[in-house]
Amino acid sequence: MNTLFDQFVLESRELLEAAGAALLRLERDPADRVAVNDLFRALHTLKGATALFDMAPFTRMVHAGEDALMAVRDGQAAMTGDLADRLLDLLDTGAAWVDGLEDSQALPGDADARAQALEARLRAALGGPAESVEAGTPSAFAWVEEVPEAERAKAAGRTVTAIAYDPAEDCFFSGDDPLDLCRRIPDLLFLRVEAAAAWPPLAQLDPYRCALRFRALSGASKEDLARLFRGVPDQVTFATLAIPARAEPAAPASLATAMLREQAHILGLPGSAEETAARRAAVLRAVRNILTAEGRDAEQAVLDRAAEGPAEALVRCVESLADGPAAEADTPANAASPARRALRVDAERMDRLMALVGELVVAKGSLPYLAREAQDGRSAEALAQGIKEAHGRIDSIVGELQDAVLRLRVLPLSRVFDPLPRLVRDTARRLGKAVELHLSGGETEADKDILDILGEPLLHLVRNGLDHGVEAPERRRAAGKPEVAAIRVRAFQDGGGVVVEVSDDGAGIDADAVRRKAVARGAVTAEQAAALSDAEALRLIFLPGVSTSDSVSDLSGRGVGMDAVRGAVEQAGGRVEVASTPGAGTRVRLVLPLTMMVTRLVTVETAGTLYGFPVTLVTGMQRVPHGAIRRMKHAESVVVQDEVVPLLRLRRLLNLPEDERERKGEAVLLVDLGGHPVGLVVDAFRERADVVLKPMTGLLARLRGYAGTAVLGDGRLLLALNLRELL
C-alpha cells in the first residue's frame, strides 16, 4: 500500500464522518446553509479523492449524493427524512467500502450494482423522474458504445456526462453557434460531429439551416454542463455514465520478483561447500532486504524457517516469495483487525517529548563521569551524593516523560460522542419517538484505551434510554411531559477519573419489575429480592439475564446489554452507577480511570504479601473493633453508615492460614462491587501506588482471581486482585 492510498483511506474516513455530522445538522434544520455547504464540500472532496484511484462506482455514488444535495441547495428538493436516510445509507456504504479498501485495496464485487441502486433511490427520494442512468446505457446514448477505443481509454474508470446535442434547424438565426458551444464543454473527452441526415448536393444545401448534431463526453458534472447549455435546454440531453475501466493487462513481474528469482537461481549454482555457504548467507541477506523494502516483513518468518532446512527447501521458499506476497488467506488475522485509526498528536505535545528526551540525554552524561570518579577512588560519601543527584535529575525527567507519553494518548471524549447523534436519529425515527440529544463535556479528555472501551457501552446506554426509557409520544402527552424527550450525555472529570453520564427524562425503571424479573430468572431468591432497597434492586439490571423491559425489541431488552456494559467498564477498572425515579427518568453513570496504563491501586498487606485493589472500587477504609462485627453462623457483617455490609476475610478468600495474632480490631477495606458494598478484612493497609499493571500471561492467565502483577518502586511484587472473581 502506498502513502497516497493510506492518506486516501484516512482522509475519506474523516470526510465521511464530517459529512455524516453535517447531514444530521441539516436534517434538524433544513435551512442550515452552513450544514449544506459543509456536507457538499465533504462529498465533493471525497469525490475528488476517489477519482484519484480506480474506483468508478465510489466516485459515481458520491457524485449521486452531490447531485441530490445540489437539488436541495438550489431549493428544487426538500431535505426530508427519507432523503437523509438515503444519504446516510450512502455514507455508510462509503465507510464500508473504505474499510474494505484498506484491507484488500479493492471495492467489493457488487460495488457497481450498489452504487446504481443508491443512485436510483436517491433520485426517487428527490421525487425526480427515475432518469435514464440506472442500468447500462440508455438507448438515446447508444453511441457511447461506439466511442473509439483511444477516447474511451481516457474516460475509463470515470463517471462522465454524455451529451447529445441536436441543435434546432433555425438555431443560427437566434445567434447560436453549436460548434462553438461544444468547444466550450469543460473537460471534453470526446466529440463527434455528425450529419442529421444524408447531405444534399451542395447547390441545394441551405447553409443557414443547421444540419449537424453533436455527441460528446465530458468529465464535468451534469450541472456544470446544464449551465453551459442553458440557452438550448430543449435541444440537449445529458446522461451520467460510468465508463468501465478496461481490464488491465496482467501486471508485469515486478523488480522485486525478478530479483528474488535471481537469488533463487544463485542458490542453485554449483560450487564447493564453502562457496555454497557463503552464497547462502549473502542470498539470505539480500532476500531479507528485498522483503523489507517491499514491506513484506511478515514473510521473514517463512524465510527463517526455510533457512534452517536443506538447500532445496530454501530455493523453493525464495521462489515462492518471488511469486508475490503471501495470499490473503494466509493471514486471516489481518481481516479481523479493527479499522486502523490514526492518532493525531498536537505538535506541541510532540515538542515537549522531544525536549524531555534531550534533557534525558544530557542527564545520562553525568553517569560516565561518576564511574570515572569511582575508579579514581573518590570517597564513598561524595560518590553517593553524586549518584543521588544524578538519580534525582533522571527521576524527574522520567516522570515528566511518562506524563508526556500519556498525554500523547489522551484524546477528547467527543470521539466517542460522534456516533451518538446518528444513533439517536436513526433509532428515534424507527421507534417513532421524538428525541433531542444533548451532548456536553465532549472536550473532556481520557486515554485512548479508555475511549475505545467506552464506545460500545455508551452506544448501548443511549440505545437503552431511547428504547426503554423514553416513552411513546402519546404516553408522554398523557403524563404531561413535553413531547420531545431529552437524552443527555454528559462527560466530566471527577477526582482521578472520567465520568460519563447518560440520562433520560423517560419513564424510569420500575424497581419492582426488576425484582420480579431477577427472581424469575433465578438470579436472586424472592426473599433476597424483597430485602433489597429500591436502589439496590435497580442494580440487579446489571446481572446477566435481567432486562429493564418486558418486551424484547430488536434494539435491546434481551437482558445482555447492561451486563455487558458493566463488564466492559469494570474491565477498564471503572464502575457503573444507576439511579432512576419512576416517571421522571433514569441516569446511568460510568466512572472510569483517566488512563489504563498507570493504574492507581490501594495496597494492603495480608499474610506477609502485598495485594492491590483499583482505587475506583474502593469506597473506604475502616478499623472495626471486634465487637462491631456481627456473626450469623459463618457469615459476618458490619454496619457502615447505617448499612449492613457483608464482611469477608481476604485470608479465607485466598485460602491462607487464619491470622492468630492478638489485635484490637480488624482493618476493613470497603469495596463497591457493582453496587454491592463489601467489607474486606485485611491484615494492614499500605500506601496507594501508581503502577503499570501487567496482565497474567501463560499458565497464570487461568488464575482468574488475579487482575495482574506490578512491580513496586522498591522492587517488591504486588498482586492485583480481581475481587469479583474471588467472591
Partner: protein, 81 residues
C-alpha cells in the same frame, strides 16, 4: 476578411463567422478542385463546417487550433458519400 478566396484555395483566418457561409458555398460550387487552407483558422462557425462537409472538399492545410484539429478535422477528412 476571415476567408480569402484565391484562385483555387480558400484561406481561413481567425474566427470565421456565419456571414461567410453563402460566399463559401458559392465559391465551392464554382471553383474547380478547390483547396482548403485552415491553417490560420481559430474558430469555425457551424454553418461553415456543414458547408465544408456537404462539399466534401479536401483540406490541404489542417488547422493549428487544437479543438478543430482534434475534433473537427477527423470528420472533414472523411469524404461524404
Amino acid at each position: 476578411m476571415p476567408i480569402r478566396f484565391e484562385d483555387r484555395t480558400a484561406r481561413f483566418e481567425g474566427a470565421c463567422t456565419v456571414e461567410e457561409a453563402i460566399p463559401l458555398a458559392e465559391w465551392l460550387g464554382a471553383a474547380e478542385a478547390p483547396r482548403l487552407d485552415l491553417g490560420g483558422c481559430t474558430a469555425l462557425h457551424t454553418a461553415l463546417l456543414q458547408v465544408l462537409l456537404a462539399a466534401g472538399a479536401p483540406v490541404a492545410v489542417p488547422p493549428e487550433d487544437a479543438f478543430l484539429k482534434e475534433w473537427v478535422m477527423p470528420v472533414l477528412g472523411k469524404r461524404p458519400p
